[in-house]
Subunit: 248 residues, 6 copies
Amino acid sequence: IRLALQSWPDVDRYLQSCKGVIIPLGSTEQHGPTGAIGTDALTAEAVALELGRRSGVLVTPVQAFGMAEHHLGFAGTMSLQPATLLAVLHDMVLSLATHGFERIFVVNGHGGNMATTRAAFAQAYGTAASRGLEVAPRLRCKLSNWFMAGPVMRRARELYGDREGQHATPSEIAVTLHLHNSLIAKQRALPEAAPCGSIHGPADFRRRYPDGRMGSDPYLAKPEHGLELLNTAAEALREDLSTFLTAA
Amino acid sequence: IRLALQSWPDVDRYLQSCKGVIIPLGSTEQHGPTGAIGTDALTAEAVALELGRRSGVLVTPVQAFGMAEHHLGFAGTMSLQPATLLAVLHDMVLSLATHGFERIFVVNGHGGNMATTRAAFAQAYGTAASRGLEVAPRLRCKLSNWFMAGPVMRRARELYGDREGQHATPSEIAVTLHLHNSLIAKQRALPEAAPCGSIHGPADFRRRYPDGRMGSDPYLAKPEHGLELLNTAAEALREDLSTFLTAA
Amino acid sequence: IRLALQSWPDVDRYLQSCKGVIIPLGSTEQHGPTGAIGTDALTAEAVALELGRRSGVLVTPVQAFGMAEHHLGFAGTMSLQPATLLAVLHDMVLSLATHGFERIFVVNGHGGNMATTRAAFAQAYGTAASRGLEVAPRLRCKLSNWFMAGPVMRRARELYGDREGQHATPSEIAVTLHLHNSLIAKQRALPEAAPCGSIHGPADFRRRYPDGRMGSDPYLAKPEHGLELLNTAAEALREDLSTFLTAA
Amino acid sequence: IRLALQSWPDVDRYLQSCKGVIIPLGSTEQHGPTGAIGTDALTAEAVALELGRRSGVLVTPVQAFGMAEHHLGFAGTMSLQPATLLAVLHDMVLSLATHGFERIFVVNGHGGNMATTRAAFAQAYGTAASRGLEVAPRLRCKLSNWFMAGPVMRRARELYGDREGQHATPSEIAVTLHLHNSLIAKQRALPEAAPCGSIHGPADFRRRYPDGRMGSDPYLAKPEHGLELLNTAAEALREDLSTFLTAA
Amino acid sequence: IRLALQSWPDVDRYLQSCKGVIIPLGSTEQHGPTGAIGTDALTAEAVALELGRRSGVLVTPVQAFGMAEHHLGFAGTMSLQPATLLAVLHDMVLSLATHGFERIFVVNGHGGNMATTRAAFAQAYGTAASRGLEVAPRLRCKLSNWFMAGPVMRRARELYGDREGQHATPSEIAVTLHLHNSLIAKQRALPEAAPCGSIHGPADFRRRYPDGRMGSDPYLAKPEHGLELLNTAAEALREDLSTFLTAA
Amino acid sequence: IRLALQSWPDVDRYLQSCKGVIIPLGSTEQHGPTGAIGTDALTAEAVALELGRRSGVLVTPVQAFGMAEHHLGFAGTMSLQPATLLAVLHDMVLSLATHGFERIFVVNGHGGNMATTRAAFAQAYGTAASRGLEVAPRLRCKLSNWFMAGPVMRRARELYGDREGQHATPSEIAVTLHLHNSLIAKQRALPEAAPCGSIHGPADFRRRYPDGRMGSDPYLAKPEHGLELLNTAAEALREDLSTFLTAA
Ligand code: NI
Ligand code: NI
Ligand code: NI
Ligand code: NI
Ligand code: NI
Ligand code: NI
């Protein structure tokens, strides 16, 4: 399931029966006073691996660094500029397309990556065509944000109501608590978060959201929620993936 | 209202009372067998100008070329690669920020521009910060797609039901018929369009949507619809713009 | 004549008899205390359209933003960096070449675009060749600056003598007065302009040319001159275009 | 120790006593008929984490995709072009420098990354200086290749003699066997590998090294070697790191 | 006079009395069946050095590779793409500006470099300003093409009439004969050259100008002409340089 | 031997019997209080030409500007950013590959170029493959640093012991004294140099190595050493080159 644990002849064999592949995409950025900086990469990878297990589709290593320019006002955030992330995803897609992969499914854990990822897909289609790659007419990429899958959002709403918020949300924190018990000790009651709002540059973000949270109460997160949300996400994405892989 | 018709001292005066500006962003791409290649730029510009008239906010010239890689299989389409459009919007925002503009409202007429535009905003915030521009902490950009405004989508649904489709839609065509009477003569009944679906590379697009339409029946479009939709869009965006300009 | 008002099958048909196309290229930059910021785009577009009417050659939308770094010291100027404009023109030419256009005629309204446009042509020829485009060996681009056409310069000299100057010239302002009556009200007598000289960075430009004019007296401009100059330019460029299109 | 498991206030506190940070850098590329595609990322991450445990220095997530253009002839390889990887490392260093990190220690698992990483450091120093970052004069980056540490090379020589080879070496494979027991089952005797030689483009590489190995016999690798080599590497790098962090 | 032969304290001293510097810019490209591939770099460097000797202004090493995409159809041509040459000149100007040089005079030997050089100047001014370099407001660059200096063109006309042509001209060849006696042996009568015309891509160039010459008869060149033209060029440029350095 | 002094038909003929070419690569950067700024370019060019003479392999003009960001704190240094130098070398290799050159041997005079040059080779191999160049599968590039050739380092050790140092070394200075007698007059006794150490950004470099030298005593250099070292280098590289050209 993990591309990292396959040999190249394994991949050659795999390609004879499946042209699909899953790329987990995360970010390394602040997640509030108690949340883990690696949240988006940890969750994207976990969802992608669970999805891989259920579907039998290969999962590449996680790209743990994403577009997090607006979080650069908080220590520990590591951001790729949009133009850089665009190039990264472009090169990843082109590498895979060179081998004959035709359906590339990105499991994303960070809202800030969405725009750049879609831009990168368009850039990659163009390059595949201009290089005359054999798969160019059949190459398809799809962005799937696990935290926006319908069942995930419904369950998060049930669990946390409007304290879910938009960044450092209890649902994503819950998944990290499930994955890394050591994070449970960081949990503590926090003052009311700044209300949700828009996102612009790093100084503006820090002014609006002084502790990094956007309307969320991550103290509500429990590891058992995390397990449930992980499974919910994997199941929801499994349907999306299946449709994506089998579509004419 | 039109930046193009102002002198620089006019702009200096304007900046004393308003830091907002509107950028119309279009595309130059096929719009089905009867639709105008300039549809997205014509409509974005018309909506932006009407919005400018109603709000008193300056409107820059339209950027008529956008990200239309997937339409390159049809003659006449002119596309900027995502990395190019990203640079264009980055430079436009930085130019405006240098003069002291702080709220930049992009009126977009083309779905394919959305991802790249948002990526460009993030790139621009980063540059503004790293250059130490005086307005950097206050700089805000907003993408507003006129065809996705709630009242516009509702009215389009009333007028065209599910024949609105997703590309070369009767609503956007109607606006062009209102703007350019000469286009009315191109209108003719067309066979059922290919159903809506996903968008990938240019060859895939042409295979899925052989005449360029995605589920739409542009023959339903009437110039008088266009006028109404234009006004509806301008009014809907006026509220968005007002909120954007006055937000703390 | 306007590509924007054609459908893609119209363009397919057009290409059966003509491989030529006209791109108007402008700039959005200060034009002195009374001149319009959109002057270069407005005039380039007007000349291109008149040229299209006379020649029957398709005219793309205007690229209204050009290389105007040196004008960034004046409010309202929006400049693409040279590397950005190079990419824009490259992508425009490549898009057109993909469809089979072989002769691309750029009608330019701004001196500051000249160098970058020529650089972009060379970059585009290289890409067309390295991509193996079918038209690559036949692809030709030509830069034509309407304000430097012989008959235009002669007529400007007759009308304005050495008060024509080099930026915010009465001849270009006259064309805008003809196109937009509202601009006539901005006209007023101005003090002697700073003398013509060289152009370097934005701070140097503002120091040398404090009100933005280079040796010009735009108050001499009359709308009727504008009409005449527009026709003169279109006629002069028609010969250039004809030669360009028919050359072996 | 893992940046991914810290919160931003944790990082703020950390920076009060230490300005150093460790970045593991890998690659996702073929490692012969039996080796794991993820070898270089798995080993770099493992060494970096062990180094972090021993030194108390924070370890960022692994950048799992590196410069592997020459391996693109083998299925599953995912490569960033040198210009892309340069931008990635540049952005990572700049992000860290913005927060006040001054000593950036890259633990690298792939020879193909070395040149680009060093180029990226120079690019990052330049940007830090031209942006006027507060830490610019103190910013230092260091590339440390775990597989080239003296004690590691000596032990590999003892264990494998000249069957260590240069790619898909038993020493790196041993570390992966230790980390992932599932890989042990892939181990099998292989024919004599192609002899070591130079590295150029992907077609040349596949021609010279038909099964992907360069002079190595990965069948010699044992999980217990892996544990030992991992500890040896961590200990060797700990000295390098300590010197790096304390140097005036 | 040669920067290459100065030490850094020499340059520090020089900058106390002069802020000017000369950059010779050439190209490495075919010059017809008998002309030297290095012609443009050899001549630019020779003119620049003679100019340096007469003026006392420092001369940097020659940038021997320029923009010669259109000559790539002939063996031996080495071309930088326009975007690459733009970056090279940008970095050279910024390096010099960092040290306090304010007047940068490029002696160019190749028509194909002109556009890109001017674009690079604009890019460099922009970067100097956005980096806040101390010299930014005073930084000036000037392109001077030795072969287009009035006295040079007049003398070439006297010597060669309309057999001067536009590429592989007897005047530039004469300078190389003067500089390298070994080239005299290559001189031989050639058939009538293809007439002058326009320049587009490499295939088009080779088709139009099958032996690489544009309307020229390099057999007319004599070493003694070369010496004379070299002196003429140096003297002509000395006046330009003097004006450039002393202008307010 | 010098490509600059060949005509294009000469190169066509040459390619029938040899696919190899030598590129000298230097730098323009401070070399201590008495050393020439052009040292690295002068020496690389001299070694390359001597190597060409001995081997009969063509030598291109020297690329005199390299990656010298860390020397920018000393007047006169002109540096290309790594991304720029990468593009330069990429374009040079691609130009040569287009003509059918298959073995490209870079004679380098500057340690700071090494990483970027290797990165550029990888980028060039990728482009050659993606463009489908005829020579792509056979294209090979090799970096050869004359100052690191075994016999050169041994002789330098004999001559200068540990006063050779690492920058502004007596061995490289000796070669320049041999090449340019005028430099002999600059030689003078200098205080003990700062000890060798690591290299980071420009401010750090100047702080560590206040006069620009790294552990060297260039006053030991003699012109006759230079001649000897030049011959030693040429002979050592001749073997490397021969192996490179004849390798299967
Ligand atoms: Ni998150
Ligand atoms: Ni549309
Ligand atoms: Ni103008
Ligand atoms: Ni490895
Ligand atoms: Ni020439
Ligand atoms: Ni040196």
